[in-house]
Amino acid sequence: MVKRKVRLSEILLNSSVFLSTTLSALALGLIFFYVIREGTTLLNWELFTGNYHSRNYIAEFQDEQLQNYDMPDLSKVENVYPVDRFGIVLQEDIDLAGNGVVRVYYVHPDSPFNKMISKEVGTEEVDLDVGMIFQRISYVNHPTSLSRGGAQKFATELSDPQREVYELFFSDLGGGIKGSIITTIYLIFMTLIIAVPFGVLTAIYFNEFAPSNWITKTMRSFIETLTGVPSIIYGLLGITVFVPLTVRFTPAVNSNLIAGALTLSVIILPTIIRTTEESLRVVPDDHRAASLALGANKTQTTFKVVLPQASPGIITATFLGIGRVIGESAALIFVLGAAIKDTVNIYEPSTSLAVHIWSMMTDEPANIALSSTIAILILAIVLVINLSVKIGVKLLTRKGM
């Protein structure tokens, strides 16, 4: 009787172990699969280096003797619509963020589109370059036409000999995430510069210098608790303390990158303290004793003997911190804002990659493709970080450090 019971429970245990493993692996696999399937269409170097906000141009069309332009061979290209009359080819395409646009596929050097007069700067000529986006065409005696109609509609209209173009509104390709990448890099560096020294020194204090009494014990468990606090609460701290503080002492006028970095520092500080402390704790007391017995003082012992041995732990802590910075969104929406920028200024709002995803998903309609592409980028960064931690720690330990 007893024996059979044990067996049954063992079978149950084994099968639930197996089941849980399979389910977890499946869930994780599905996330990767989904993100990669959705995100790869937009994966493109230009996305990472391109501006989000496109530069717009309004230009006046000049009366021009039309001629016959020799056009490129289009037989192998899809979704292109030539306009022989003006020597251009339009293409139905998507921008970096995946929105449908009318792009310039070809423009003849002598095309009247290359001899337009910019409305902003006065009489200066503006060129239409390949890759630019047609936004709006105004005709003489005909209603203005918008890009929503697509490349084919534009091409048909332009090919109509009755129509005289009066004005063109066009722009660069937009939707790039360059600014958000730069912001993220700024955030990482600024956060680490603040949090790592503070965290490491605090850990040193707790582990090497603090007397073990109830005060330090309480502080320790307090820090332990802080690692589990939801980041949105740190966001509150950021908006009530760091944003006003930075507004008071820097040129910033509202949410800004410095406040973001300060908030993130507070978020990663407990992790850095704890991880560093753990690595300090495993440094053998023998080494401390040996150093002190050689007439070294406490400070020398701590910084020359103990701390170097904790460096793998500190590196791990640093990279855990980077991961946290890259992944944080909720708190940053408060303190850094959600304004997507192409040029980053530490005194101004901007977005990190994670918040960029948030912005894309709160757009109407949600831009899942671009979000997934950014997600791929984030996953890749996290992967690279994890690998470099492993390699770095291994190298350090092999050196005997």
Binding site: P284, R288, A290, L294, G295, N297, V305, G400
Partner: protein, 251 residues
């Protein structure tokens, strides 16, 4: 014979626990003094009093007098760092720092502010030669010390202590983690070092104490039962308990 260290009515308590009581012991210059006794009798505790390593332990209370070259060792006004420079220590388990061989030996002098490369090199080489390790490591000074064998590591730790040019070397069971060959090398080394240094060694091996020491102190339950010349103690122990211990009939 000149006393380098002397304790008078030395007692030590760990909290409520009395680990040493009324210990009177002279340590003579250029002699090897062996401390023997069953486990837990306070040998290490006594040794740590001599360079104030007990300061690292909480709740330690020391009473009585310890003198090093006639100067008191206990007391708030004493420069502990100066004391530890003069009274070096070698631990039971070899504990080289995870640094290069050179950096290990140079560690102590460097912390005293010596930066000059040539000076450091001279100190390191001298210490390694004194510790009979130089020939084995002279071509691998930049290698990590943790790659040395246990016996080599222990000699490195001795060299590291010698680099401070101490007067006294305290050794707490320095060979208990080593094989017989490595042990023999350390014993030969101690014989050699005696010329320039005063050595206090804790050991559990009666043979070792008999082989290398000039004087022996037998500890039991925190007290010194017998102290005298090693030959005397091993040949004619005055106390029955000493006899029982050295003949192996005891704990």
């Amino acid at each position: 014979m000149e006393k380098v260290i002397e304790t008078q009515e030395l007692s030590l308590n760990y909290g409520d626990f009395n680990a040493l009581s009324n210990v009177n012991l002279p340590i003579y210059r250029n002699k090897v003094t062996a401390l023997i006794g069953p486990s837990g009798c306070g040998k290490s505790t006594f040794l740590r009093c001599l360079n104030r390593m007990n300061d690292l332990i909480d709740n330690v209370k020391v009473d009585g007098i310890i003198r090093f070259n006639g100067e008191p060792v206990q007391g708030v006004g004493v420069d502990v760092i100066e004391l530890r420079k003069k009274v070096g220590m070698v631990f039971q388990k070899p504990n080289p720092f995870p640094m290069s061989i050179f950096d290990n030996v140079a560690y102590g002098p460097r912390q005293q502010g010596i930066k000059d490369k040539a000076t450091l090199k001279g100190i390191v080489e001298k210490a390694l030669k004194q510790a009979a390790l130089y020939n084995e490591v002279k071509d691998r000074m930049t290698e990590s010390a943790t790659r040395l064998s246990g016996g080599q590591q222990q000699r490195l730790c001795i060299a590291r202590a010698l680099a401070m040019e101490p007067e006294v070397l305290l050794m707490d069971e320095p060979t208990s983690a080593l094989d017989p060959m490595a042990t023999q090398r350390i014993e030969e080394l101690i014989e050699e070092l005696k010329k320039d240094y005063t050595i206090v060694i804790v050991t559990h091996s009666m043979q070792q104490a008999a082989r290398i020491s000039d004087n022996t102190a037998f500890f039991l339950l925190g007290e010194i039962i017998e102290f005298g010349q090693t030959s005397e103690i091993f040949a004619n122990p005055r106390d029955k308990r000493t006899e029982d211990y050295i003949t192996g009939r005891f704990g």
